[in-house]
């Protein structure tokens, strides 16, 4: 059997390892030796901290990973030092965005029910992640899954922009091509949402590596759910981030359900957080309904990522109060009582509101006024978006590549001729210029 040293030597001889890898191996090796003074170390470079034991024992679990919080359910800060040092304006901006998101969800959910938009997904119960937006730098890059509208809102995506996307009208950044809630904004550094799950997680690692190479003091933050963390992409992404030392924050919104599948049918380990440790990634679990806890961990994670190029995994525990989407009826797999109990037990908006009240920065009057005003504003935006035409028919064929290819040019012509011949068979009036520009 070869020893670790001989293996390293062999690797050195064959020059298969880059210098940095060897340095890392030997450094860790020394650390491990120091830690295991009383036990004989295993000289294997792939498990540098291991030591020999003569006891046959399977490891079933490690200690439960604790859940960091700042406030209790009543919005009371438990350890005063943990309360972030922020201004009234900063705090109320987060709260107002939470209420705005909630109000927008109510209106757009109902709009889908009335058949005015084709699809929607609410953020009910998960509004606290807005504070991630507050903890980041605006030029940090975000890869979302689909329930992160709040962060986009915090960054300045306007109500009109939300409505235009949901109405697939000509002002939608995505030119009406994707389903509602597939937002994206280049100027706000928020990559466009795509429906497949977990595909964005390795993208985040790659983007983070690229950012690191530029030398900018920025990181990438990537969101996904407890279900998506079962996909292969999740595992690849964490392993890549760890081995390439990418400045990326992985944020798992563990909301208890992947459509109908409860978290406990999704995995058997200690949540998603336990996996981060397996990949050698700094990991923390947080109360996902606690705005300040989410804010603090994101801020600390950002520091690790940006200053030390260390990827971080945050697992936020929350609860999906709404149906998965407008295509789902969750009463088929969970009781209404369960949802009601959860809502009574804890809600990020009410918890944060209590904190603001205690602080004297918010009151019932402000609440009532803000809710009325924002509802009006959203409805105004909503009606405006509804009246805007669908995009130009030419957008059906554009952007497949940077420039139209011969097959697409020919197909566009073919469609134009069909429409000219049978205009009554197509809903041309809904589209920009009545489809004339095709």
């Amino acid at each position: 059997m070869f020893t670790a040293r001989s293996l390293v030597n062999r690797i050195v001889r064959t020059q298969a390892f880059r210098t940095c890898t060897i340095t890392k191996v030997s450094r860790t090796f020394v650390t491990a030796t120091r830690k295991c003074q009383n036990q004989e170390k295993v000289e294997f470079p792939g498990a540098p901290r291991s030591y020999f034991t003569e006891k046959l024992e399977f490891i079933h679990s490690i200690d439960a990973i604790p859940t960091y919080r700042v406030m209790d359910k009543e919005g009371k800060v438990l350890v005063p030092e943990e309360e972030p040092n922020i201004t009234e304006e900063f705090a109320t901006k987060i709260y107002k965005d939470m209420v705005t998101l909630n109000t927008m969800d109510l209106i757009l959910y109902e709009a889908q029910r009335q058949g005015r938009i084709s699809f929607y997904m609410t953020n009910y119960g998960e509004e606290a992640i807005i504070s991630c937006g507050a903890a980041l730098d605006p030029s940090d890059v975000i890869f979302g899954q689909y329930r992160e509208a709040g962060i986009l809102l915090y960054r300045g995506f306007t109500l009109d922009e939300f409505m235009n996307q949901c109405y697939s009208n000509e002002k939608d950044h995505g030119k009406g091509r994707q389903m509602p809630v597939h937002y994206g904004s280049k100027s706000l550094n928020f990559q466009t949402i795509s429906s497949p799950l977990a595909t964005q997680i390795p993208h985040a690692s790659g983007a983070a590596y690229a950012l690191k190479r530029t030398g900018k003091k920025n990181c990438v933050m990537c969101f996904f759910g407890d279900g998506a963390a079962s996909e292969g992409d999740f595992h690849a992404a964490l392993n890549f981030a760890a081995t390439m030392q990418c400045p990326v924050i992985f944020f798992c919104r563990n909301n208890g359900y992947a459509i109908s599948t409860p978290a406990l049918e999704q995995y058997k380990g200690d949540g998603i957080a336990s996996r981060g440790i397996g990949y050698g990634i700094d990991t923390i679990r947080v109360d996902g309904n606690d705005v300040w806890a989410v804010y603090n961990v994101t801020k600390a994670a950002r520091q690790l990522a940006v200053d030390e190029h260390r990827p971080v995994l945050i697992e936020a525990l929350t609860y999906r109060v709404g149906h998965h989407s407008t295509s789902d009826d969750s009463s088929a797999y969970r009781s209404k009582k369960e949802v009601e109990t959860w809502m009574r037990y804890d809600n990020p908006i009410t918890r944060f509101r209590k904190w603001l009240h205690n602080k004297g920065w918010w009151n019932d009057e402000k609440e009532a006024n803000y809710r009325v005003d924002i509802r009006k504003e959203i409805l105004k935006s909503f009606s405006k978006a509804e009246k805007i035409h669908k995009p130009s028919l030419t957008e059906l064929f554009s952007d497949v590549y940077d420039k139209p290819t011969p097959n697409l040019i020919a197909q566009q012509k073919e469609l134009r001729e069909i429409i000219q011949k049978y205009p009554a068979n197509y809903p041309l009036a809904d589209f920009k210029n009545g489809g004339e520009d095709l």
């Binding site: 079962s230 599948t261 999704q266 469609l415």
Partner: protein, 426 residues
Amino acid sequence: MSSFRAATRPFIANCWKINSNRVYIKAFSSVRNFPFGVCRESSPAPAEGFMPGLARSKLLKHTHEEALKNPELVDTGVVGGETKKMNFLQGVNDAMCITLATDETAVVFGEDVSFGGVFRCTLGLAEMFGKDRVFNTPLSEQGIVGFGIGMASVGHTAIAEIQFADYIFPAFDQLVNEAAKYRYRSGNEFSIGGLTVRSPSSAVGHGAHYHSQMPEAYFAHTPGLKVVIPRSPIQAKGLLLASIKDPNPVIFFEPKILYRAAGNYEYNGGYSDNRGPLIKIEQVPTGDYELPLGKAEVLKRGKDVTVVGYGSQIYTLEIAIQMAEKHIPGLSCELIDLRTILPWDVDTVAKSVDKTGRLVIAHEAPKTAGFGAEIAASVMERCFLRLESPIQRVCGWDTPFPLVFEKFYLPDVTRCFEAIKKAAEY
């Protein structure tokens, strides 16, 4: 898998809702304005892509007698038996139910399968056969297919569900490099014939990029796989049972717009109007029967133009043919449902084209390197001297599947009609 993988009952219901509230009304008026007055009474909304014509399709077997008249059922033992009204998803469900009841090794699994699946195809099966045989998996398509391959590798029957065909791609490696080559690479020592992968596919009206795709061509390029796409409840049940029992891995795409579209009267709400009663469902034999894989079915005999399609596209072609035959007096078209994409029935198609000399192929997937290209090439090889006109392909454009442009993207009745006309008048 999706963000929006959840397409449960309301998914389809919403499709009808939107359809009936707004778009459908427009579509109906466009029917009235259709340039061919003749089709006013007989063709419902053409440009919609919401399964025009399904409600009145002559291809569905509405009576016990019609259902059992099918010559393919003669040797199956169900001819003297009962039939029951079923919609498409009930046919799929019934096939799995029969398999679970008759094959002790059979299991059904996938994301959200336990409570019935987001489309309700597995409804009641977990209660009936136990949670160890009908179960939820973690959210990983490569895991689902790999797990199924493993079960099949030791001789069990694995019926896996990929929630949307759009999400099958993480399992591409398992399907293409593992499932397809398992037998060949082991010199026939091992095989995984017990694997069947079901997946809802195709356009649904509002699915956009990731809830609409029809990825049959990717898999048609993979020797060792079989690819099946049924068009109706009777077909779905018989072909699924055949796929499960077939000693090769089969991918079974279920056009999701068909699940309930022909099904429940209440669902369709505004769809019931003065165009006569809605045909709900097919009479499906209740027994255990198989329909042949690798065999196309000639749905309508004709002498002038051969029209080939599969899945939900068949109903669009049915109307397009009705329109063409009314528009061009004396024209008669032959409609062929391919049913199995791999291995596909070249003989039936070539025999038909030898007779008609004209071929129109339609599918939803993009045109370039779509399965229509394979059909066209094979027919050209076999029927070159018999061809009277260029082979017409009516397909999705070479773009991703676009939400707001769906009506302009799909090979709709208008485009299929135009292609038939072009082939006939060449």
